[in-house]
Each structure stands twice: as C-alpha cells, then as structure tokens.
Point group: D2
Chain length 151, copies 4
C-alpha cells in the first residue's frame, strides 16, 4: 500500500469502527499531513439546547478534536520508514490529545457541518493543529486549537 491508500484505510476505520464517531455521524472526508476535513449532518440527538435547537458544545469539541487528531496521525505516519500495518498500528498507539481549546463563535445551526484542521507545529513528539467548524452556508461556528502527543 502507498501512503494514500493507507490514509484511506485509516479514514474508513476511524469513521466506521470508532463507536463515538459513528454515534455522532462524523465522517473523515479528507486528510493528509497538512490538513483534514470532517463532515457530519444535523441530527436531533446532537441538540444541546432544546430551546434554541443548536448543537451541544461537546459535539463541536468532538468534531474539532477528531479533525486535529487525524492530521496529527498523518504526521506520525509520514515519519515512518516501515509502512506495514503493524508498524502503523504501533505508531498510532502513541497518538493522544494533550489539550484542546474550543472557541464558540456562533450558535451551531445548520444542515451539514464541516470541521477542518491544519497543522501549525509539527515535531516528532508533539504536534499542534488549528481547527475551524463551519456549516453548509459557510457560517463560521467555532475555532479550535489542539496539542497532540505524536511520538
């Protein structure tokens, strides 16, 4: 497998076999070493404020954390010499979120939501990503910053 096929497999795995991502409907639609994109559609169960019908802040945080985590994962894989499944799985065990800041800008309203992440600091131990959440009308709903353990 080349790197692109590996990334595709990981995207499928993380979208389909990670219980909480499935529960929220988070789909990894794109990722490489520099950026990632997560999409999910509105579902009533994601409501955090029934008076206002908006996303729970935890949904926003979950999507931003996944977007940042997946681009951090791409950075881990990009530094591997050995691209065997064992080597990849082993290296991904080191991945973990150290801290996450979410800035809520506007109420989470919309039919579809798009979380994007870009790496702003990459290293062999720690990576930092900046994330954004928009809806299908391109309303900017939230910013995020995540620090990830990668080695």
């Amino acid at each position: 497998m080349n790197q692109k096929e590996i990334f595709q497999q990981i995207a499928n795995y993380w979208s389909n076999d990670m219980p909480f991502n499935q529960l929220l409907g988070l789909k990894i639609t794109q990722f490489d070493c520099h950026q990632s994109e997560i999409r999910f559609v509105w579902q009533d169960k994601l409501i955090g404020n029934p008076m206002q019908n908006i996303l729970h802040g935890g949904v926003t945080a979950s999507a931003l954390d996944l977007a940042g985590g997946i681009v951090a994962a791409a950075n881990i894989i990009d530094q591997l010499d050995d691209l065997s499944p064992e080597s990849i799985l082993n290296s991904l065990k080191k991945l973990g979120t150290i801290d996450l800041r979410t800035d809520f800008l506007r109420p989470g309203r919309g039919q579809e939501f798009i979380a994007t992440a870009k790496i702003i600091r990459s290293g062999n131990k720690v990576a930092v990503a900046r994330m954004e959440l928009h809806n299908e009308k391109n309303d900017h709903i939230a910013f995020g910053t995540g620090t990830y353990m990668v080695g």
Copy 2:
C-alpha cells in the same frame, strides 16, 4: 418554588430533555452557585479508541462543559429577583459557552465518571469555571476551564 426546587427542576430538565446529554447518559447529580457534579456510566458507544477502549476526548469535553455550564446557570438564577418560570427561562437564554479548554491527563478508563465544576470568576456578564473528571477509583482523567456568557 424556592431556589433549591428550581435547581432540582433544571437538573431534571437538563438531564432528561437535552438530547445530547441523554445520548451520553450525563446526569446532573448536584449543583448550586459554587459547584456542580455530573455523573455518567461507561457505555461502549462512548469509545473513542477501540484499540485501547477509552473514552472519546469529545465525551470528556461534553461532560466538563455541562458541569461548568450548570454552575454558571446557577449563578444567573442566583442574581434574579423574579423567580417565575418565564423569568428563569428568559435569563437562561443568555447562557452560552464562550471558550472551553480541556487538559487530558490520563486515558478515560472506568465504570463510572464524575465531572465536577467550581466557579472561579463570577460576574453579571461572564463566569469562569474550573472542572475536573475522575473515575470511580478517583483516578484523575482530565481538567477543564470554561468561560461562559451569563448576562
């Protein structure tokens, strides 16, 4: 209704009628103007890392955000002269998370999880809370800091 009964009604409403809190099983077990406590039990659907069987970081963020939000809500209600349902509902519409920082300390393993929050800055416009997540063995899983709009 006195303030204690009002807080009890809000706890029931937030635990039982907020779809995302129900989905995660978050229960408000205590709250007043100074502190709050949220409890939830392990469920496989909350898994964020199937290789390690640990909570998704977004579950942790959701529980911490709720714990901080409810103590911020108590501060809003505490400043009201009129404790009619209309007045309370109207004042709670102003509540919103401005920003949330989560520090992940240990993997989210356990059978039951307890999120607690304390107010560290209270005002008539903005409140800031510090939160912690522990499991039933008192392992310290995460810290949080949330800034809330309250007026």
Copy 3:
C-alpha cells in the same frame, strides 16, 4: 475628532504612557475594529533563555495580549454614540482580558517582531481575537487567542 484621530491618540497613549509597554518597546503601528498591528525590536533585556538567546515566553504573551486588547478596544469605541474624551475613557474602563491562550511555534529569534490581531467574535459584552507573532523574516513564532470583556 473623528474615529481615526481618536484611534491615533489611543495608539500614542498606549505606546507611550503605559509603563510596561514602554519597558518592552511595544509600539501600536495600526488598529481599527477588525485588526491591529504591534511592533517591537529585539533588546537583550527581553531574553528568556540566555543559552539560546530567544524571547521570554512572557514577552510573546504580552505583545499578543496588547494586539488583541487594542482591537477589542476599537470595537468598544465603534459602538459609542458619544465620542467625547470622557465617554471614551469611561467605556475603556470596562476593557479587560478574561483569558489568553498562547501557542508557541518556534523559538523567538529575530531583529524585529510583528504581532497582529483579528476579531473573530464581537459583541457588546465579550470580544474574542486571534493573534499571530512573526519576525522580520516572516517566521511564524506564535499564535494566540484572547477573550476580552468589552461592556
């Protein structure tokens, strides 16, 4: 005075009469309701790590906080009907940093440093700004996010 002249006066005041900004040599070179720019030159007294000759992290935080605070101040003034000095001074008394996050990306090396800020959330009570610090070679040294009380 029109708004532009008022902003110029405030820039002069904040650059020349604020003791800590003077001590660090922070100069407000531009600001309006959307963005701001602060510049300062390398001085040995700003060193935080004599083995490496790089800026103290607190210098970076100070410059980012000023850049964010000044654009928050512009938002306060922009909402005033009465642009008399008394009204402006009175409204600026409400300005305060609620919280500030600094992400350090690269060592703070250079001859001149440029901090920029953009408003990402503006309201009549709270404003949120994102900041960046670069050196004269456009190396990206730090990111910041600040939440400010404005009303």
Copy 4:
C-alpha cells in the same frame, strides 16, 4: 552536588541571569518536582493600565510561565541518571513552553505577588502544570495552565 543543591543553583541562575526575569524582578523562592513558587514585588514599570494602576496581563503570564517552567525543569532533572552540569544543561535545552493559558480573575493589585505551580501531568516528553497568582493579601488574581516540552 545532590539534587537539592542543583535545584538551588538553577533557581539562582534563573532568577539572576535570565534578563527578562531580572527586568520583572521574578525570584524563584522554591521548587521541586511537584511544585514551585515565584515571588515579585510591585514596581511602577509593571503597570499595564495607568488609569487603574494594575499589573499588565503580560506580567502575570510571564510569572505563571516561569512558575510552570521551573517545575517542568525539575521533572526533567529528576529523570536524569547523570547529574553532571553538562548532562543537566543538555537536558534543559529540551525545555520549552508549548502552550500557556492564563485566566485573569481579579485586577492585579498588591505590594507583592506569589505565583505557584503544581505538576498535573508528568511524562518523559510532555509535562502539564497548573499555576495560580495571588497577592500578599491572598487575593486570587489569576489561574494558568501550561504545557511544556520536557524530552
């Protein structure tokens, strides 16, 4: 030298030979692997708001960053087998702040200020510390959270 003497030498060095710490008057009065204490006295040059005579937010951030950094440094040294000066200097080169969050609770007024830090996550790559700033009357002025590279 035993560990205690080494810590004393580092405290002297960081207090007396780090130009920005000297400029602000930051003195390391205590530190070990678990906690640290920094003290500094009021000086007019630390003023960030001449209308209110309070500390610049950057002074607060600087003191909190130093308090967290020194306890992270103690963790680095505690993991060394070789306590020669070369080994210690070499290991401290890895120390760096990844991110710092400051929560401002009250105006920075007082005659003396005390910053304290405690380690909340320690590892061989990354350490996380929580910090507090009080004045001589024990008024709580600020909270901080810092993530540090240690390996």
